[in-house]
């Protein structure tokens, strides 16, 4: 008889104990959150009177003409993996330029309208069909959008030594050069 009572008391205590534990569980609630940032890079050109392509994912193109304004801005955004970088390269994609003419591109520093690890400008280059890096070591950053944001690019047409004509005489020829700017990972 007394054994039955002991079992009964044990069961009551056990149920109280179980009830206590489950009440504790209800005092907290956990929310899982999945956070994702993909690596990404995009650029666009601004402040140029030249016809520009619309904002593309990885690049933008531009038509350079002898008589067009020689300054414009490059804007970009970049998110990188830890300790990797993006670079911006430029190359000629269309048009014929007389061998006596070179197109020089000067790259300014970022004007500081954005934030983050913006890229470093290279020394002036002469455009060619081979891609050349003009802004390197771009980390996670943004430059801001539109004119007066990002880097100022200035191009100029130069006659090579020994050319037997001047640039003015070429203006009637409507020389056009298509140039492509691309942003991609550094390696």
């Amino acid at each position: 008889m007394s054994r039955t009572y002991y079992i009964l008391i044990f069961c009551i205590l056990l149920s109280v104990r179980l009830g206590y534990v489950s009440a504790q569980d209800n005092n907290t609630v956990k929310i899982p959150i999945q956070m994702t940032i993909q690596p990404m890079a995009s650029l666009s050109l601004a402040g140029s009177e030249n016809s520009l392509s619309s904002n593309q994912i990885k690049g933008a193109s531009q038509i350079l003409r002898l008589n067009s304004k020689g300054q414009f801005w490059i804007n970009y955004s970049s998110v990188v993996d830890n300790n990797t970088f993006n670079n911006i390269c430029v190359n000629i994609v269309s048009g014929d330029v007389p061998a006596e003419i070179a197109i020089k591109l000067k790259i300014g520093s970022d004007v500081g309208a954005g934030m983050g690890k913006v890229g470093k400008p290279s020394a002036p280059i002469y455009l060619s069909i081979q891609p050349q890096a003009i802004i390197t070591e771009i980390g996670s950053c943004f430059t801001g959008t539109g004119p007066n944001k990002g880097h100022l690019l200035t191009y100029s047409w130069e006659l090579q030594p020994g050319a037997n004509f001047d640039l003015k005489s070429l203006e009637s020829q409507n020389i056009e050069v298509g140039v492509m700017y691309t942003i991609s990972s550094g390696e």
């Binding site: 994702t36 940032i37 993996d81 943004f142």
Partner: protein, 195 residues
């Protein structure tokens, strides 16, 4: 039967009758117990997915907002006792160069002392109060009942260079805890045996 035996029998009968008389005016005593209760849950109880992208070249990553979940609770508090809900990033790491903010909207469903709500920047280091002044109340259990939880994941602009792309997705867990308002120790039902 001798006299002594008769006397004892009479005594027994008289004692019995006394006890019977005592049994007659029985009054019913009702022990009404309202247990301490404080339980919380979220609805829907699913994983929140947040994905950062750049809307336009030159712009920073766009802020991601999730306002789909509601915190629901039922609380029966002893007199003069209030409860609070506090929140922490309990597992995982918030992606560097970003902030995760939780804005709690006041509860407009249910009834009772539903308390005051706050907006906090979630951290991995310390628990922060998102609701306090909770007395006896309930929020309801239907969809959109309870306190609306708005999670905002944004670039921490001054620390933008610290942003790294996540390899795959970065999982974290946020834990909400309801406890006594006066201190951070978990609430213990005084009716139950202490451990």
């Amino acid at each position: 039967m001798n006299t002594c035996t008769k006397f004892i029998l009479a005594l027994c009968v008289s004692l019995l009758s006394t006890s019977l008389v005592a049994q007659i005016p029985v009054s019913d005593i009702f022990n009404i117990v309202i247990n301490n209760i404080c339980i919380i849950r979220t609805l829907p109880a699913t994983t929140i997915t947040m994905n950062m992208t750049v809307p336009q070249a030159g712009k920073p990553v766009a802020t991601v907002v999730n306002a789909n979940t509601y915190l629901q609770l039922t609380s029966i508090a002893p007199l003069n006792e209030t409860r609070k809900v506090s929140t922490i990033i309990s597992t995982g790491t918030r992606p560097s160069g970003t902030t995760l903010t939780l804005a709690v909207s006041p509860c407009t469903s249910g009834a009772g002392a539903l308390g005051n709500t706050y907006t906090i920047v979630l951290t991995m280091e310390s628990s922060q109060t998102i609701i306090d002044g909770i007395g006896s109340c309930y929020t309801g259990i239907a969809t959109a009942n309870g306190y609306k939880m708005t999670y905002t994941w944004a670039a921490d602009i001054p620390n933008y260079s610290l942003i790294n792309a996540t390899s795959g997705s970065n999982p974290i867990t946020i834990t909400h805890t309801i406890s006594l308002a006066s201190e951070d120790s978990p609430w213990i039902d005084p009716l139950l045996p202490s451990r």
